[in-house]
């Protein structure tokens, strides 16, 4: 399988026949593009951009009067991102392509160094994303601890009001950035090709690009605090956005950068799912998790450009002195609200749908029943994706909307609960009369369903104008979306990690520690966030560091629970380190007895995923059925017979079924 890197390069000009080594292979490890070069490129790029911004704008009146050069900040951050991407090697191929060169043969790497490089192996990208997402999660989690520490007392303060709101904004933004890629990045990239029977992604360089720019976004948003933070919370509302200090530049550039990464991730996965499904994998046989990822990709590719453009407008307002969001100069602060939420509400489903996909994929395995109403589930996800474009104005019920328009958007918001209800009913139907196996992934699935029920029902309350107007901007709203995002998505993410980690690592996770993780996570999650519904109904506003004295007991329950909730993540970390490195136990090939295609290939998954491209024969949900048909023909007979393509291929003979003598399986259609 390995490629001889001394073969003739494809990048030679016609007539240029000298055999040479691939240029990258001659460099030492440290000299090849890697994360160290990316950091160096990012720093150098930032310095150059900042210097350039000072050259351009230091003479501007507003810069001299305020002492704040947003042009330098924005150029510094933008050049820093370009330098980072250059350092990791993401620009090598696009530049070589301008000279007419096509990609060099990919050399599969086995060294651990590959995790710190740009790679075309979707499994490595999936693992990189997992680490990246957890980094976001833990950073945002630490900031959450800081918030809850401040809220332990209504009068004694750890932070000043400005610092507090900066922490709140940073926490929210980091978590939203994380959540938008939490499942699509790690599990989507790792699993989708395996689940559809593909050997590769459609656009592997775009996939790798999406991860590394995602990490550049992490670095950019971290610069917000040293640049003065941003006082707007994660929603970045104008006119505060236009007036804020330099940290706002990090927010705008960071969100735009992350947005580009999200678009790239969705673009690649959508093309892969549409075109790289194995022969026989009709749309009726596509795993439900893949349907969820496809629906999410539609949202990622179509909704996210609005965020990027809104970010661009914000940057122009702060640097080129345009007035998109400045009422006094012909702009409108409500324009930001509209653009932001036109992305922001589909974003909610970018976070929710993959979580549901994981749960619906896992439930049949642990109930040993077929997935209930498979087609309804797929249709529900597409319905949610479509309707999510028509509900954004419910975020503006309190401001920025013609009151006559409220009933329309109340109706569309309530409508979206119908396909969402489909998804929930599908899970309940699968659980109905099942003999459930309470393994750790299943526990997290059940936890997700419990939490999402609370988050979903309170969401229906909030879609009604009278309730929304009453509790707008309160902790009730905060509790609602934490129940849907953390209670839904993060529980589902851990369900997925516990379920697929044996496939990814080849090691068995410790069952006791997994259970401890679940129960502490579940109990303290609910103890943290349920009281916040109550304090919200009692009138405690979000983003304010002081509150009424009588709300302290509920706040203290929430804060103390939050610390335990944060600590519960250590069970996962300890479990992972213990099970994978300290006391590794080889995982069985198919520990959960799943019928999924991803479990049919070897562990660890070979570079090319499948020895032969499988021919899919049926959907993977025939659990509990006697004589259930095989899911796929993996070509084992061919492999055993050694009948692989060892003879040169005539390019004219690549028509379908043209070489049936070599492959007795059904023709590829």
């Amino acid at each position: 399988m390995a490629i001889d890197v001394t073969e003739q390069s494809p990048d030679l000009f016609p007539g240029e026949t000298a055999t040479r080594q691939h240029p990258l292979s001659t460099r030492t490890e440290w000299a090849r593009p890697n994360v160290l070069w990316a950091i160096a490129g990012g720093v150098v790029g930032y310095l150059i951009g900042h210097w350039l911004g000072n050259v351009i704008a230091s003479g501007y009146t507003n810069v001299q009067s305020s002492g704040q050069n947003d042009v330098a900040n924005v150029l510094g951050l933008s050049f820093g991102v370009v330098g980072w991407m250059g350092g990791i090697g993401a620009l090598n191929y696009p530049l070589a392509k301008m000279l007419g060169r096509e990609p060099a043969p990919t050399v599969p790497e086995q060294s651990w160094v590959r995790y710190f490089r740009m790679t075309e192996d979707h499994k490595v990208v999936g693992i990189q994303y997992t680490v990246g997402v957890l980094l976001f999660l833990f950073t945002g989690g630490l900031l959450a601890m800081a918030i809850r520490t401040e809220l332990l007392s209504p009068t004694s303060h750890v932070f000043g009001p400005g610092t507090y709101i900066n922490i709140v904004g940073e926490h929210g933004t980091i978590m939203m950035m994380m959540a938008s890629s939490a499942v699509v990045g790690p599990l989507g990239n790792y699993l989708v090709p395996l689940m559809i029977g593909s050997r590769r992604m459609a656009f592997p360089r775009v996939e790798a690009f999406s991860f590394w720019i995602f990490m550049a976004g992490y670095a950019v948003i971290l610069t917000a605090l040293p640049l003065g933070g941003f006082p707007t919370g994660w929603t970045g509302y104008a006119p505060l956005q236009t007036q804020a200090s330099g940290g706002m530049d990090s927010y705008l550039v960071g969100f735009a950068v992350i947005g580009i990464g999200m678009i790239c991730a969705g673009f690649n996965l959508a093309a892969t799912i549409i075109h790289y499904r194995a022969p026989g994998m009709t749309w009726n046989r596509v795993p439900i998790f893949v349907w969820a990822i496809l629906a999410t990709c539609a949202l990622l590719t179509l909704a996210t450009p609005t965020l990027v453009v809104a970010g661009l407008f914000g940057i122009l307002d702060r640097t080129a002195q345009t007035a998109f969001f400045v009422n006094e100069h012909g702009g409108s602060s409500f324009l930001w609200e509209n653009l932001f939420w036109f992305f922001g509400h589909p974003e909610v489903y970018i976070m929710a749908l993959p979580g549901f996909g994981i749960v619906m994929e896992i439930l049949p395995v642990f109930t040993r029943k077929p997935l209930f109403a498979y087609r309804t589930a797929a249709a529900g996800m597409l319905g949610v994706a479509l309707l999510s474009f028509f509900v954004w104005q419910h975020h503006l019920f309190q401001s920025g909307i013609n009151p006559d328009m409220r009933p329309l958007f109340m109706l569309t918001t309530e409508l979206i609960s119908i396909p969402t209800g489909f998804l929930y009913l599908v899970t309940l139907g699968t659980l109905w009369k099942a003999k459930i196996r309470f393994d750790p992934p299943m526990l997290f699935c059940l936890g997700m369903l419990f939490n999402f029920l609370i988050g979903g029902v309170t969401g229906v309350f909030l879609s009604d104008v009278p309730v929304d107007v009453t509790v707008h901007g309160s902790f009730f709203v905060l509790a609602h979306f934490h129940y849907t995002i953390m209670g839904g998505l993060i529980f589902a993410l851990f369900a997925g990690l516990y379920y697929w980690l044996p496939k990814i690592t080849g090691k068995t996770m410790n069952r006791k520690l997994s259970q401890w993780h679940f129960w502490t996570f579940f109990i303290f999650f609910n103890l943290t966030f349920f009281p916040l519904f109550l304090v919200g109904l009692l009138g405690q506003p979000r983003r304010v560091f002081e509150y009424a004295q009588n709300l302290q007991p509920l706040n203290d329950i929430s804060s103390v629970s939050a610390f335990f909730l944060g600590a519960s993540f250590f069970f996962f970390i300890i479990n992972f380190i213990w099970s994978v490195y300290i006391n590794p136990r080889k995982a069985p090939d198919n520990p959960w007895h799943s019928r999924g295609l991803e479990w049919q290939t070897a562990t660890p998954v070979p570079w090319y995923n499948f020895e032969r491209i499988p021919v899919v024969l049926d959907d993977p949900y025939h659990y509990g059925e006697r004589d259930a048909p095989a899911v796929a023909d993996l070509g084992q007979e061919l492999i055993a017979a050694g009948r692989v393509s060892s003879t040169p291929v005539d390019p004219d003979d690549l028509s379908v079924g043209g070489r049936d003598d070599l492959d007795p399986r059904p023709p590829i259609l």
């Binding site: 399988m1 490629i3 073969e7 003739q8 494809p10 000009f13 016609p14 026949t17 392509k97 301008m98 007419g100 060169r101 096509e102 043969p105 593909s198 459609a202 656009f203 673009f267 959508a270 093309a271 549409i274 075109h275 790289y276 022969p279 590719t301 179509l302 909704a303 450009p305 609005t306 453009v309 661009l312 407008f313 122009l316 345009t322 007035a323 998109f324 006094e328 100069h329 012909g330 702009g331 409108s332 409500f334 324009l335 653009l339 036109f342 491209i613 692989v644 393509s645 291929v649 390019p651 004219d652 003979d653 690549l654 028509s655 379908v656 043209g658 492959d663 399986r665 023709p667 590829i668």
Partner: protein
């Protein structure tokens, strides 16, 4: 002739290195079709991405226009320099038409016409981008003086990005064509060869032409918004 055969092998080997790792012919054919399809879908997805980006700009345009805060949507009906605007529009649309025409000729087997049309488009696009930048230095209003002024600056930024993306795509295809032309001479050139490299090239070229058609439509719509309405 010997060189041509060697060149041909180079291209074939490249494709085989990339695609034929221990694969049956059916698998190779399957992946080739998948790649062609992914290029087709990818091209359309890129158009979808840009559509939503420009729809956001159009939303801002109409939102600010209808809100007309402080009567500052477009005071005194002031307009950006119309000559430059018309020139940018005309050049962009001409490039789009040239691309579409070039691809039609390419499909007829006349690759040279497509190359000429492509290189002309490259030059035209560079000119359009240059004009767009120059127009920004010659505006008769301050960027933040009105809603119209803000939207025009936003349009300029997005239009430059869109034109550069189209420029990049067509330039990379032309550069690739320069490398493949001789290599595939024996096999009918990029227009007719059945080699994987040629098939991928044609799929990308079709997507590029479609993309340029989209650029032409965007140029027309926003020219109407900013200079006609």
């Amino acid at each position: 002739m010997g060189d041509a055969v060697a060149d041909d092998k180079t291209v074939t080997e490249r494709s085989e290195d990339f695609l034929h790792l221990n694969e049956t012919p059916e698998e190779i054919a399957f992946e080739l079709r998948a790649q062609e399809g992914a290029l087709w879908t990818g091209g359309r997805l890129v158009i979808g991405i840009w559509t939503f980006a420009f729809a956001s700009l159009a939303f801002a345009y109409f939102y600010l226009r209808s809100a007309n805060n402080q009567d500052l949507w477009r005071p005194h009906d002031i307009t950006a320099p119309t000559a430059a605007g018309a020139a940018i529009f005309a050049i962009t649309v001409a490039c789009a038409v040239l691309n579409l025409y070039g691809v039609r000729r390419f499909r007829s087997g006349v690759a040279l016409d497509w190359e000429v049309a492509g290189w002309t488009s490259v030059l035209g696009t560079l000119l359009a981008v240059g004009l767009q930048i120059w127009q920004l230095t010659d505006l008769p209003f301050f960027p933040g003086s009105s809603g119209y002024a803000s939207c025009l600056i936003g349009w300029a930024a997005l239009n430059i990005a869109l034109l550069l993306s189209g420029l990049y795509w067509i330039e990379t295809l032309l550069a690739r064509q320069a490398r493949l032309r001789r290599a595939l001479l024996e096999d009918g050139g990029t227009a007719q060869s059945t080699l994987p490299a040629a098939r991928m090239f044609r799929a990308s070229m079709e997507g590029c032409a479609y993309y340029w058609g989209f650029i032409g439509v965007v140029a027309t719509l926003f020219w109407v918004l900013f200079y006609v309405l």
